[in-house]
Amino acid sequence: MQPAFSVIFLTTLIGMGQGLFLAIYTDQVYSLLNVLPQGGKSQFYAIGSGIALILLSLGLIAAMFHLGRPERAWRAMTQWRTSWLSREVIVLPIFMAFLFCYGAIHYLEWNIQLITIGAVVIDLSVIIGLFAMITASILFLSTGMIYACLKFLQEWHTPLTVINYVLLGSASGFTLSTLLAALYSPQSVNFYAGWTIVISLLAYLFRYASLIRNKRLRPKSTVQTAIGVRHTKIKQKAMGFMGGSVNTRDFFHNKTKTTILFIKHSFVVLVFYLPIALLAFFLLWGITDLLIVALISQSLGLIMERWYFFADANHPQNIYYQSIA
């Protein structure tokens, strides 16, 4: 498939925004249950929510560039019964709305205490945050399933697609939250750094699993099934036209094998090895600049990872477009 940068930016930015919110909310829930020190973190939560909202908005704007007719984009919400893309388009604004409320409550310190169970005080932001977390999870699932539900794109048709999207989005969000914590809430920075390492390691495991799986894939479609002629040696002599068409432009990345391998190895280093190492060093020596490098490395690496994810898929229609003349 030809990777479209608008979709690459959409998925990475949204993933990071969701991951950031999940990091903040986990911190709040842990504080609630007194696992972490409480208090004084409202402004930090507000800043985090604000940045997450900015990321999500930027992602949404990037997505608009991908459409041929963006003025009709509202119609994309109507087919939620069958289309994962439609479900994503519905859930994304709902999540942003909950996130906005969550951030606003923390920023304006409107935290009304609702229920008290023993020593645990559940306030309004916890409830709003719970709804936001549920919609963020549905958003992760919907975005991953857009790609995973296409059963003949064998590289994508696996639960690993959704799992990887969740873990990578969470990892990038947690890395960003670690940096923000170092700046605005130093007492919880080790909590964030630790969890970032755990999630990044999990993401590495599952992404590696999908790389191995895709390497071993045998295509189900061959030129024999494509034209229905049963002979071992079939070659296309002409695709019927000499100029390009959507079929020759949109479905192949047009890069050399060397470039693809370079991108694959680069993203593994930039998304996993380098940030995990830098975060581990941070936990040992506490230098904040390491976090900035980790964030830049992971973000750049994630763009490459998304690009590779798209380029990796072999669409069976390519069988029909092999030779010009």
């Binding site: 498939m1 991908h66 459409l67 041929g68 007719r69 963006p70 009709r72 984009a73 119609r75 994309a76 919400m77 109507t78 087919q79 069958t82 289309s83 994962w84 893309l85 439609s86 388009v89 857009i146 539900c149 296409l150 059963k151 003949f152 794109l153 189900k220 479609s221 030129v223 099934t225 494509a226 034209i227 229905g228 002629v229 002979h231 040696k233 079939i234 070659k235 296309q236 002599k237 002409a238 695709m239 019927g240 036209f241 000499m242 100029g243 390009g244 068409s245 959507v246 079929n247 949109d250 479905f251 669409h315 069976p316 229609q317 390519n318 029909y320 477009y321």
Partner: protein, 242 residues
């Protein structure tokens, strides 16, 4: 339930592209707007076509067969392009099973072209909506046309009658008969999209010619009572005066 479709006979297709040009002409001059056609006589032509004819070579040179392969939207019974459309622009008609795109709803997100394993859907670069073969739905129901011309443009254009149009769910229709009798098959059946367009396979007829069929056993020139004239005798040319 009616399912209109095409049956394409690979045995007689000669790859003339008449169906391609006729389809493009009909759909460019129709009510739905022109198809993209950039730099057609220039250096880097490109455009939107609903139907394309490809050529494949089977076997290894010099023992090869050339197969010309027209491909357009196969109007699948279980179309993968319909459930993925977020706006509902991509739909399958209940009354005749034709899969269509509503150009007023389409947002050009290209998700349906990802979802089609045959590469039948193209985005029109100028109108920015997805377009595909409509099975000439504007021709087949047009009462202003004579009955015999209410067929898709490609079917009428084919000089070798390689394209047949009809209802594949009706066992008595011409298309169903040809599929049954000549082993019509679907493309890429492994994905379960159940395409309605079928293809008839190549079949070369071999005739065994026996040597005694070439020469008659009772050759009248060799009958006993016939004698060829003696060459020393004068012929008519010697006797007649003209």
């Amino acid at each position: 339930m009616t399912q209109l479709a095409l049956v394409i006979d690979l045995n007689v297709c000669v790859g003339c592209h008449a169906c391609v040009t006729n389809c493009k002409e009909w759909n460019t001059s129709g009510a739905a707007g022109a198809l993209a056609d950039d730099r057609p006589y220039g250096e880097d032509p490109t455009g939107t076509f609903f139907n394309r004819v490809q050529t494949y070579e089977v076997g290894e040179f010099p023992k090869t067969e050339t197969i010309h392969f027209p491909k357009s939207c196969l109007h699948c019974e279980d179309p993968p392009c319909v459930p993925v459309c977020p706006t509902g622009a991509s739909y399958k008609r209940k009354e005749d099973g034709i899969v269509l795109v509503d150009y007023d709803k389409c947002i050009g997100c290209r998700y349906c072209s990802w979802a089609c394993p045959y590469g039948a859907r193209e985005i029109d670069e100028h109108q920015k909506v997805m377009k595909k073969c409509t099975l000439c739905v504007d021709r087949i129901y047009d009462t202003n046309l004579p009955e015999t011309e209410r067929k898709p443009a490609c079917v009428l254009a084919c000089p070798t009658s390689a394209r047949i149009f009809g209802d594949v769910h009706d066992p008595d229709s011409e298309v169903s008969k040809t599929i049954r009798e000549r082993g019509g098959y679907q493309l890429m059946p492994e994905w379960g999209s159940k395409p309605s367009n079928h293809y008839l396979p190549r079949r070369i007829s071999h005739y065994k010619i026996h040597p005694d069929e070439l020469e008659r056993a009772d050759n009248p020139l060799k009958k006993e009572d016939y004698q060829s004239p003696d060459l020393s005798e004068p012929s008519l040319d010697d006797v007649t005066s003209w």
